[in-house]
């Protein structure tokens, strides 16, 4: 009875405190990543009803820009504190540049298409993706950075405290995961406060539900669209900079495609356009990913492709049982 033995083995395996701690930290770290890569997508869709297919390549650009700052200044910022401080400089730079880029993209390219059917925006943003990817490839080849493989030099700028596994009460905790969790929580909280505690956030929530009514109350909805598109793209870039340090993702041209699918899964499972739903779905997908990774890639059962399959099973299950997503309201995002 091999399956039964495997099952018992699996249960025993997960009762080990070291394994439990690993799954917990893996889950939280992956949840942070999933929430971050989906946050920009959900903000933009929630207010504007635009599905931004350029999301993935903007993440990749964020990863390379962040890497560029790190690699350029790494020599003058040594030690744990120096490198982490430099990383924060990098994400501020990435956020500023990509927010400006996103704002310009909205005004010049997306705005003329609001009155058209959604297919136009999908085709446009998909086209933008192709252009951005090829531009990125040209730049990388020019500077002799291999575009198709991970940018290891950027990963090498990680400080020691983040690269190693720390011993906490006899349990192994990876520094990178702790860093990802802290940054994920901080950025989620930042977006949450922006949306619920600021006047601009109020305009955005009102405008996403009924743009015409918001305008008639004096809200400049066009400007709110530009800001949200910019901030959404900026957060997407910051997520890319975070992935640049993670060897499971890393800066590469393919990062765009790697990010786009799970980001869409998280956004759809959470409910299109609800930030709360995206956070909950990100945590759900993160923990399922961590759990199935432990289950199928540890020594119990060797099936390295299964964790990814499970993520898509969540998507399929959601679409069948609750098509509007966990927190979705039917018809949110329509104009």
């Amino acid at each position: 009875m091999i399956p039964l033995v495997s099952l018992v083995d699996a249960v025993l395996h997960f009762l080990d405190p070291a394994v439990l701690a690993r799954v917990l930290f893996d889950g939280l770290a992956k949840a942070s990543i999933y929430v971050m890569i989906a946050a920009g997508l959900t903000l933009i869709f929630g207010l504007m009803g635009v599905l931004n297919f350029a999301h993935g390549s903007l993440t990749a650009i964020g990863a390379y820009l962040g890497g560029l700052v790190m690699v350029t200044f790494a020599a003058s910022a040594s030690g744990n504190v120096g490198r982490i401080a430099l990383f924060f400089v990098a994400i501020v730079v990435v956020f500023a540049l990509l927010t400006a880029f996103g704002g310009a993209m909205e005004v010049s390219l997306i705005r003329p298409l609001y009155d058209r059917p959604p297919l136009y925006q999908i085709l446009l943003t998909f086209g933008i993706t192709l252009v951005l990817e090829e531009l990125l490839r040209m730049v990388l080849l020019f500077y002799d950075i291999q575009p198709s493989t991970d940018w290891l030099e950027a990963q090498g700028t990680r400080p020691e405290i983040i690269s190693k596994t720390h011993d906490v009460f006899g349990l192994g905790v990876e520094g990178l995961e702790v860093f990802q969790i802290l940054l994920g929580v901080a950025i989620t909280a930042g977006v949450w406060i922006f949306l619920t505690r600021t006047r601009y956030g109020l305009y955005i929530r009102a405008g996403s539900e009924d743009g015409e009514m918001a305008q008639a109350l004096g809200v400049n909805v066009h400007q709110a669209f530009t800001v949200v598109f910019g901030v959404g793209v900026g957060i997407t870039g910051v997520a890319g900079a975070l992935l640049m340090w993670d060897s499971a993702w890393a800066a590469s041209i393919d990062l765009g495609a790697e990010v786009l699918l799970p980001a869409f899964v998280v956004v759809i499972v959470g409910g299109l356009g609800t930030f709360r739903g995206t956070v909950v779905a990100g945590v759900l997908v993160g923990f399922v990913d961590a759990f199935t990774t432990e289950l199928f890639t540890s020594n119990i059962v060797g099936f390295s492709a299964l964790p990814e399959l499970f993520i898509f099973l969540i998507l399929v299950g959601t679409l069948v049982l609750r098509p509007q997503g966990l927190f979705g309201v039917e018809e949110v995002g329509g104009h």
């Binding site: 006047r199 539900e209 015409e212 009514m213 918001a214 008639a216 109350l217």
Partner: protein, 232 residues
């Protein structure tokens, strides 16, 4: 005399269908003016045209002495024109308080205006943290009027405020509108003819996208031969 709002020979289209065919009307400071007529004659479109939600293809909309035709809706709203629309258009996912906050134009004085709204509509205070989508129709209408009140508007465009409400609630809504009318001019679209005549100082009768008759409301009844022809 300077009119607060003036529509002059306005033609408005939805796509290719011609809705307003040369409508002209005006509202003076302090007045309450009713806009009556059958369904589909262009009353709602007249309000939407004033706000530039559906801008006129020809003709002019003048507000407070300025030609606002073709301006952005939020600019017209900022200039002091408020909208209390048909079906109330609540932000259903926002709380009552947030719905009212959106309408406050002076960001420095949000709390002052909120207090003012709750003084005018004490019943709303206890629902302030409830999602607007969960309120009854009458309560939502009060929130919609409160939004018009806190916007410091000189003119409120009110569309079918009594629609779908129980008779005793209609009386509350009418009182709320009377209270609001002490601070602002009202352009009121209302199917309930006696109510419209009761609230308004003057009225315009619309048919086929045009104003066909205009008079003061004194002594007017729906039995009037001229009026009945356009209402039934």
């Amino acid at each position: 005399m300077n009119h607060l709002l003036e529509l002059d020979d306005v033609h408005t289209y939805y796509g290719e269908s011609h809705i307003l065919e040369g409508a002209s009307l005006h509202v003076d400071p302090g007045e309450t003016v009713a806009l009556v007529g059958r369904n589909g004659v262009g009353k709602t479109t007249t309000l939407r045209t004033a706000l530039q939600l559906t801008p006129p293809r020809s003709g002019t909309v003048t507000y407070d002495g300025e030609d606002v035709s073709g301006r952005q809706t939020h600019e017209v709203a900022q200039a002091g024109m408020g909208w209390i629309p048909e079906d109330r258009r609540m932000f259903s996912q926002l709380t009552v308080e947030e719905n009212i906050q959106v309408a406050v134009k002076d960001a420095e004085r949000v709390d002052t205006h909120l207090d003012r709204a709750f003084e005018a509509f004490p019943d709303l205070r206890e629902f302030r943290n409830r999602k607007a989508g969960n309120l009854s129709g009458g309560q939502q209408q009060m929130v919609a009027i409160a939004r018009g009140l806190v916007g410091e508007n000189d003119l409120l465009l009110v569309d079918e405020p009594s629609e779908g409400l129980a008779p005793q609630i209609v009386e509350d809504v009418a009182n709320a509108l009377r209270a609001v009318a002490t601070d602002a001019s009202l352009l009121l679209v209302e199917q309930n003819f006696p109510l419209a005549m009761d609230l308004a100082d003057r009225f315009y009768l619309m048919d086929h996208g045009e104003v066909v008759h205009s008079d003061t409301t004194e002594g007017v009844s729906a039995d009037d031969e001229e009026i009945r022809r356009y209402l039934t």
